[in-house]
């Protein structure tokens, strides 16, 4: 069913007479974090660092992922890696405990994951994903940041696509979705292949058309069974050549990791056929002039997040402003 969606009225992107581009940008602005929120995220990072230093004295954190690239949405997690020093198993556990103590009592430590990580959710509802010495992810982030600076359209498209995945409950690779890393390389590869390699400027293209073409490409045109994508050059490499042919599941998505050529970023997306179907559906949807915008919507989950964040900010405010607000809320209650 995907996520539960909300019907919002009088939102900027629904105004009459907007161009397609303006509409999408307005939507994007709506789902991007506000300044207050970005500040809060920074603060959260600082908090994280101080807490971790309680157990690992000279801990240094490195942000990667969307926050580093600059494509943060309100729904994005904070991805952060403990850059130095290298810590042992017990210290990792102790880091978990300290985070449990201060930030989230239910913080989970996944010690047996490929990249050991701590998952937690801050009181504001923002998720934090802490990994240990995750150089590769940091380098990936650097690479994508550089790409984004060169082609800003990449960032905007990526944000829209991430939201698109979120609405459809496809953002989690473990539950049959697609990882954001794979998605970003799908986008880069496609941009390279269709535009930059041919010398076409992607920036001037109408964004609705870009999205439609992207969906169509990955939903219909790409032959998952046979090829591997080499994103940065937009090249198509046969799976046989790379030796990545999986006989059990021949149609897995394969993307060569630019950081490590032997790594296949796409192989975790075990339900690619479902994602493909979702791509096709949206590609068709975007063609219709009447209803194309129903491709995007605000979910109830975002609303929850927003409420939670608002609560945190409000308590902070009321603490600053003293106790006046207490009596006010009492009155309100009595009135209601």
């Amino acid at each position: 069913m995907g996520k539960v969606l909300l019907e919002l009225h009088s939102v900027p992107w629904n105004e009459e007479g907007l161009s397609d581009n303006a509409r999408l940008y307005s939507f994007l602005e709506f789902v991007s974090p506000k300044i207050e929120e970005l500040k809060y995220r920074k603060l959260l990072l600082e908090k994280l660092q101080t807490h971790i230093r309680e157990v690992v004295l000279d801990a240094e954190l490195q942000v990667y992922g969307s926050m580093y690239i600059g494509t943060t949405l309100s729904i994005s997690d904070v991805d952060v890696s403990l850059k130095s020093p290298r810590v042992g198993e017990l210290e990792k556990r102790r880091v978990t405990m300290v985070l449990r103590k201060y930030l989230d009592a239910d913080a989970d430590f996944h010690s047996s994951a490929r990249v050991p990580r701590i998952n937690l959710v801050d009181v504001s509802g923002i998720g934090v994903d802490l990994t240990f010495g995750n150089d590769k992810a940091c380098r990936t982030a650097e690479l994508q940041k550089a790409y984004n600076e060169e082609h800003p359209i990449f960032g905007r498209l990526l944000m829209l696509l991430k939201h698109w995945l979120f609405e459809r409950d496809l953002e989690n690779v473990h539950h049959g979705g697609i990882a954001s890393c794979a998605l970003s390389y799908m986008l880069i590869g496609w941009l390279e292949m269709r535009f930059h390699k041919k010398g076409i400027d992607s920036e001037v293209q109408p964004i609705r058309a870009l999205l439609q073409k992207f969906f169509y490409f990955w939903g219909v045109e790409w032959t998952y069974e046979l090829f591997v994508l080499r994103p940065l050059t937009g090249q198509i490499v046969p799976k046989l050549q790379k030796g990545w042919l999986n006989e059990v599941q021949p149609n897995l998505l394969s993307i060569e990791d630019p950081i490590d050529r032997n790594n296949d970023i796409g192989k975790q997306s075990f339900q690619i056929s479902m994602i493909k179907a979702a791509f096709v559906a949206s590609a068709n949807e975007l063609l219709s002039d009447k209803t194309w915008f129903s491709t995007f919507a605000i979910t109830e989950d975002e609303m929850f997040l927003c409420k939670q964040f608002e609560n945190v900010i409000n308590t902070k405010r009321s603490l600053v402003e003293g106790y006046d607000s207490d009596t006010e809320s009492d009155e309100l209650q009595a009135g209601g």
């Binding site: 995907g2 019907e7 506000k34 042992g88 449990r100 103590k101 049959g176 605000i298 609303m303």
Partner: protein, 1215 residues
């Protein structure tokens, strides 16, 4: 400013879902993973098998055995004579070999026919340091040369285990890490007061932590050195007794882990001599561990000649500890890894680790502080309550000086209230200030005239758990000595997990020390406050629970006088009978006020040495009418009831109305078989009255019926239809009502739920009704899964009585196929549309073949096929099963030796369940009943005490019935199932074990009856289980799958959205009663919370319906039936009290003050007011977010509420 999502927060928004056709391609993640794994696994398996051959070669090189963590030796040429009774068996091997290393396991094989020698296996873990069998591979034991060989095949599986680091040991299932130190103590205000491990006269030399993940327990193993000797002890902590998270504290060179626990650990002392191996052919190292109740060396006798106390200042107070601190020293990285591994695995069991600061707080004068409890100035009641608080760790003995000083300042009433308040609170009051004692508080006391407060106490091996008061309906003794009621005490002997019995072993070795503590308890009593409670007597069902009554004797009354008052038992010459007859006075009964009956003793109907009226007599119509008024029975006029009257016990049924002489006055016609002892009491006391409830199959019955030839599919069909009916009824009001009416439970809760639904509460999204229904689903599903309690719509569970008219045809031995007749007339719950609350019930007579069984039935002959007939002479008997009094043998006796003194029978007339093998010969009592005689030259009561200890020691009822279950389903080892010899013998043993309480003859289960493996539905550890293909196994798996896959949420939802019921708007006087309602609700909530706290029940719905969902860890240990009965009893009292109180306070208890229509309307308004108050509180609580509100109060007035709703619906329809 731009619009953002914040602007929509308080706006009511429409929600919708996107059509997502791609979703149908979604594959559940779990399945996918398994599939992938399976395909990879196959390849790997092939690779492995190729490698294994190489392994073999490697291991065969000599001295590789040193590398493993275990070695198995095969010892050959053992003379057969060792296996004889006096031959010494395994002890011959243990004695010479145990010096070389730690023997983990030994087994001696049964010799094949005609052979003079046999082989044995001895396993060392770790391997011995010296290869004592080298160089020839021979050892000499008792002058016999034995050949020794290393068993390589046994070896390999262990070598593949992971063994890490030089000091510690870890595998998936076991972690063993040396401890630098450990301390047991009490949590005191965020600090830890060490009570054991330091300064207690015992030096701990070497300690280790062992964690068995597969058994979910954590053991601390240590050597304690006393003056000269060193003894090894072990403390076992179950994971489920650990509360909260694991605290960790880290320093440079060591790390401490802190575990808080609810129940004291089990203490074991390692015996130095493997004495059991003399009699066994199978021995493991675990046999060396003996239970203990204190850390004391073997030869010191801890049983002092003093009563048992809560704060015992003589020994190490293990029972007073609630926290364990383990310290490990960190020398290198691998040590760190071990701890990380341990923490990682503990997290899998939901024991999360947290940062913690370990601060010790030394109390040097701990023993002195404990001794303060004997303060003579403290009033008795207060001392008792104080100790109850201490035993629940709500107050700490460390604060005793402050507490006592302050309590003395308070008035007696206030001090009592203060302590009662603490008992109902959830958090401990530590280091109280004077202010805590003087600040004002509100407290309501639950008291009711019809019930009596009795003290209750659990004795566990290490400590006492004092329950403040338990409300009891009362019994003859306590009613008579009402003025002394506060000096009676119910004592129950349990294991540390205090709802579990102490398990009697088949060998007396292991728990010897525990029995000596029980002996001490019985001889010297218990000291609570300044009173010493001494043994009085025990009731029959109490004995099964290992409980007894104690009494604090004084100069005015002592236990001996009470026993003398109970009656004249001098004619009884058997200890067990003597005890049972005394126990008869302790049955929970209800006295019928000022009601004298005339007794006219009748002869039993006896033929062929069989008594056909064993335990059943008659009563006249007027007696029964009086009774039905007294008991306020909601059902129809009762036909029979279980009673006590002086020395009489049993059942009285309504005498045939056709004979006038039976009904002239208040007449009771007891039988001689009901007369148990001489007594001058003649008041009639009632235990229970006959009422209808639905029949259920259970595991035993299904097993028997399947064995007797009923198709497997029938049982599955019944289960399936019950579950699918449940599922269907989710969406249909009528279906759910029908389903609830078809499955009447003992406390008639389903009928109440059905009434609520009928009245339309569910349609109006009433949270309470919805939760009740969800709870019911969950409860049924669990029962089916765990006990295979499948409801049979065509069946009933009824009290048995005898046919006084002699019209029914009985069982005849010489008939070709004897099918005796029975008579059943039951309430028709399904067709009579007049609901439970209106009281208009119809009945119908069952006709046709049916099966009759009694619980527990294990023998194939226990299930009888009878023919239900219509019999005009018996139409006056309803909701009972009437057995014939003619024929050669009595039918109840054939149903696992039942009688008619209150036994209930399951009767099923579903033709599909009729067995193919009809009326298998019943179990005959082979040996004449023996009985134990009184000890010579000692008071009679001493023999009773000894019998009590023996009963606990040899109580193997549970063991036998479990063994039977396992054997009956294990068709590989016992192909004949229930007809196999093992099962028949076990069934016979079971019936003897049931009689243990009466006959005094213990039934010891021999080792050969221990099951080889267990069917999966018994939910033992995986390695010992097999997949059972019988009906029971199928039902278990079906229900388990249903539970996993059904769309319903697995747990019912205690917090739901609040919707106001429009029906409650109407009544006009509502506002007048709002204040009263609020006040009474406050009191009621308080009492309800204390019931929930006392029985460890998490929601009010469970209390309201007595469908109690036990937490997983307790599910198997508690006596579910007893607990439910107690909860339902207590709630009934509460219900009565508060409905009455509320109406009184609303000035509505007296109808005559108003004209009838106004009275009706006022009552309705008052009830609606309770609803309004509750609703308001809920809305507020949702607004505040946190506090939990109890909402059952309005639903106490269930029938009024339904009436109100129906009325409102009618009005709504008219407009």
């Amino acid at each position: 400013m731009a619009v953002s999502l914040n602007d929509f927060i308080s706006v009511k928004l429409k929600r919708y879902s996107r059509e997502s056709p791609w979703e149908r391609l979604r594959v559940p993640y779990r399945n996918k993973k398994q599939k992938k794994w399976a395909s990879v696994h196959n390849n790997e398996a092939q690779l492995h098998s190729a490698n294994k051959r190489n392994d073999n070669c490697l291991i065969q090189r000599s001295s590789t055995w040193r590398l493993g963590d275990m070695i198995t030796l095969v010892i050959k040429d053992i003379p057969v004579t060792w296996l004889s009774n006096e031959g010494g068996k395994l002890y011959n091997l243990w004695e010479p070999l145990h010096d070389y290393g730690t023997i983990e396991f030994m087994k001696i094989n049964e010799p094949l026919n005609g052979q003079t020698s046999t082989t044995a296996i001895v396993q060392f873990a770790p391997p011995p340091k010296v290869p004592f069998w080298e160089p020839n591979g021979k050892i000499n034991v008792k002058g016999v040369d034995l050949a020794v060989q290393i068993d390589i095949t046994a070896h390999r599986s262990h070598i593949s285990r992971q063994v890490f680091s030089k000091n510690s040991f870890r595998s998936d299932q076991l972690v063993k890490i040396p401890l630098s130190s450990f301390k047991l103590g009490q949590v005191y205000d965020e600090r830890i007061v060490p009570l054991f491990g330091v300064d207690c006269g015992i030096t701990v030399t070497e300690s280790n932590l062992l964690v068995y993940f597969n058994f979910k327990k954590l053991c601390v193993l240590f050597d304690a050195s006393f003056d000269k000797q060193i003894e090894t002890f072990r403390l076992d902590f179950d994971f489920h007794s650990i509360i909260g998270d694991v605290g960790t504290d880290y320093y440079d060179d060591h790390i401490s882990l802190v575990f808080r626990f609810r129940f004291s650990p089990l203490i074991f002392r390692k015996s130095k001599n493997a004495t059991e191996s003399r009699v066994q052919t199978f021995w493991t190292a675990s046999h060396l561990w003996r239970r203990h109740y204190d850390i004391l060396p073997f030869n010191v006798s801890p049983t002092t000649a003093s009563p048992i106390e809560l704060l015992n200042c003589h020994n190490a107070p293990i029972g007073r500890c609630n926290v364990l601190v383990l310290s490990f020293s960190i020398r290198d990285e691998s040590d760190k890894d071990d701890i990380a591994f341990l923490l990682h695995n503990l997290e899998k069991f939901n024991l999360k680790s947290q940062l913690d600061k370990v601060v010790f707080h030394l109390v040097p004068d701990y023993k002195h502080r404990c001794s303060l409890i004997n303060d003579k100035e403290i009033e008795e009641e207060i001392a008792y309550l104080l100790q109850a608080c201490l035993s629940k760790n709500l107050l700490s003995e460390i604060d005793l000086p402050i507490i006592l000083a302050n309590l003395k300042k308070l008035s007696k009433e206030r001090a009592k209230k203060f302590l009662r308040l603490i008992l109902t609170s959830k958090t401990a009051l530590i280091n109280p200030s004077e202010l805590d004692f003087t600040k004002s508080f509100v407290f309501y006391d639950l008291s009711s005239a019809s019930s009596i407060h009795i003290k209750k106490l659990y004795v566990t091996p290490t400590t006492l758990r004092i329950v403040e008061d338990s409300l009891e309906a009362g019994n003859r003794v306590i009613r008579n000595f009402k003025d002394f009621a506060n000096r009676f005490m119910r004592v129950q002997i349990t294991d540390e997990y205090y709802k579990q019995k102490i398990r009697g072993g088949s060998d007396g070795f292991r728990n010897e020390k525990l029995y000596s503590r029980i002996q001490q308890l019985l001889t010297y009593g218990i000291k609570v406050g300044n009173q010493i409670y001494e043994f009085l007597a025990f009731g029959n069902s109490q004995l099964r629970e290992h409980g007894a009554y104690f009494f604090a004797s004084g100069s005015d009354l002592n236990a001996k006088q009470i026993r003398e008052w109970m009656g004249d038992f001098s004619e009884i010459n058997s200890v067990s009978k003597y005890a049972a007859r005394m126990g008869q006075c302790f049955s929970t009964t209800k006295e019928i006020n000022r009601f004298c009956v005339d007794i006219s003793l009748q002869d039993d109907i006896v033929r062929n040495n069989h008594c056909f009226t064993d335990g059943v007599g008659m009563a006249s119509l007027s007696v029964i009418r009086r009774l039905s008024l007294e008991v306020k029975n909601h059902d129809m006029f009762p036909s029979a009831f279980q009673f006590r009257m002086g020395g009489y016990k049993g059942v009285l049924s309504l005498a045939p109305p056709t004979k006038l002489e039976y009904h002239q006055g208040n007449l009771v016609f007891p039988r001689r078989s009901q007369d148990k002892f001489k007594s001058f009491h003649s008041t009639l006391e009632v235990i229970k009255i006959s009422r209808f409830s639905n029949a259920h199959l259970n595991m035993q019955l299904i097993t028997l019926l399947e064995g007797l030839g009923v198709e497997k599919t029938v049982f599955l069909e019944l289960t399936r239809s019950q579950l699918s009916k449940m599922n269907e009824s989710i969406n249909s009001k009528q279906k759910s009502i029908l389903m609830l009416r078809d499955n009447v439970d003992e406390y008639h809760s389903t009928l109440i739920i059905a009434d609520f639904i009928q009245a339309g509460f569910l349609e109006r999204d009433d949270a309470f009704t919805e939760n009740l229904l969800n709870l019911y689903y969950e409860w049924v599903l669990r029962l089916i899964k765990e006990k295979q309690k499948v409801s049979v719509p065509k069946g009933a569970y009824l009290l048995g009585v005898a046919d006084e008219t002699g019209t029914l045809k009985g069982h005849y031995d010489d008939a070709v196929l004897s099918v005796p007749e029975i008579f059943i007339q039951i309430t028709d719950t399904s067709t009579s549309f007049g609901s439970y609350s209106t009281g208009k019930l119809k009945t119908r007579v069952i006709v046709g073949l049916c099966i009759v069984a009694r619980n527990p039935s294990l023998h194939p002959g226990d299930v009888r096929v009878c023919k239900a007939v219509r019999c005009d002479e018996l139409m006056h008997l309803k909701n009972v099963i009437v057995f014939p009094t003619t024929g050669d043998r009595s039918i109840p006796a054939m149903c696992s030796g039942g009688d008619l003194d209150g036994d209930e029978y399951t009767v099923i007339w579903d033709q599909r369940l009729l067995p193919k093998i009809v009326n298998y010969p019943p179990l005959l009592e082979s040996s004449p009943k023996k009985s134990i005689d009184f000890l010579e030259g000692k008071p009679l009561i001493d023999s009773v005490k000894e019998f009590f200890v023996n009963y606990i020691k040899y109580d193997s009822l549970g063991l036998i019935s479990n063994a039977w279950k396992a054997w009956a389903h294990d068709h590989d080892n016992n192909p004949e199932g229930i007809f196999g010899n093992v099962c028949l013998e076990l069934a016979e043993m079971h019936s003897k074990a049931v009689d243990f309480a009466k006959s005094g003859v213990a039934c010891k289960m021999q080792a050969k009856y221990h099951p080889k493996r267990y069917p999966d539905f018994m939910q033992k550890t995986k390695t010992r289980s097999f997949r059972s293909e019988t009906a029971v196994g199928k039902i278990f798996r079906y229900a388990a799958r249903f539970q996993r896959e059904s769309g319903r949420p697995a747990t019912y939802n205690p917090i739901m959205n609040t919707v106001y019921d429009p029906c409650m708007k109407l009544p006009r006087f509502k506002t007048e009663y709002l204040n009263v309602a609020e006040e009474v609700k406050k009191h009621y909530d308080n009492d309800l919370r204390s019931i929930m706290a006392r029985f460890d029940i998490s929601t009010e719905y469970e209390v309201y319906t007595a469908f109690i969902l036990f937490k997983d860890d307790l599910a198997k240990t508690v006596n579910e039936y007893g607990l439910r009965e107690e909860v339902s009893f207590q709630f009934d009292l509460l219900k009565k009290k508060y409905t009455q109180e509320y109406l009184e306070k609303c000035a509505l208890s007296n109808q005559s003050a108003f004209d009838s229509s106004e009275y009706e309307e006022r009552i309705n308004s008052a009830v609606a007011a309770t609803y309004d108050v509750t609703y308001d509180q809920r809305v507020k609580s949702v607004g505040n977010g946190t506090t939990e509100v109890l909402i059952s109060f309005p639903y106490l007035f269930s029938s009024r509420l339904c009436q109100l709703s129906r009325k409102a619906m009618l009005t709504a329809n008219n407009f």
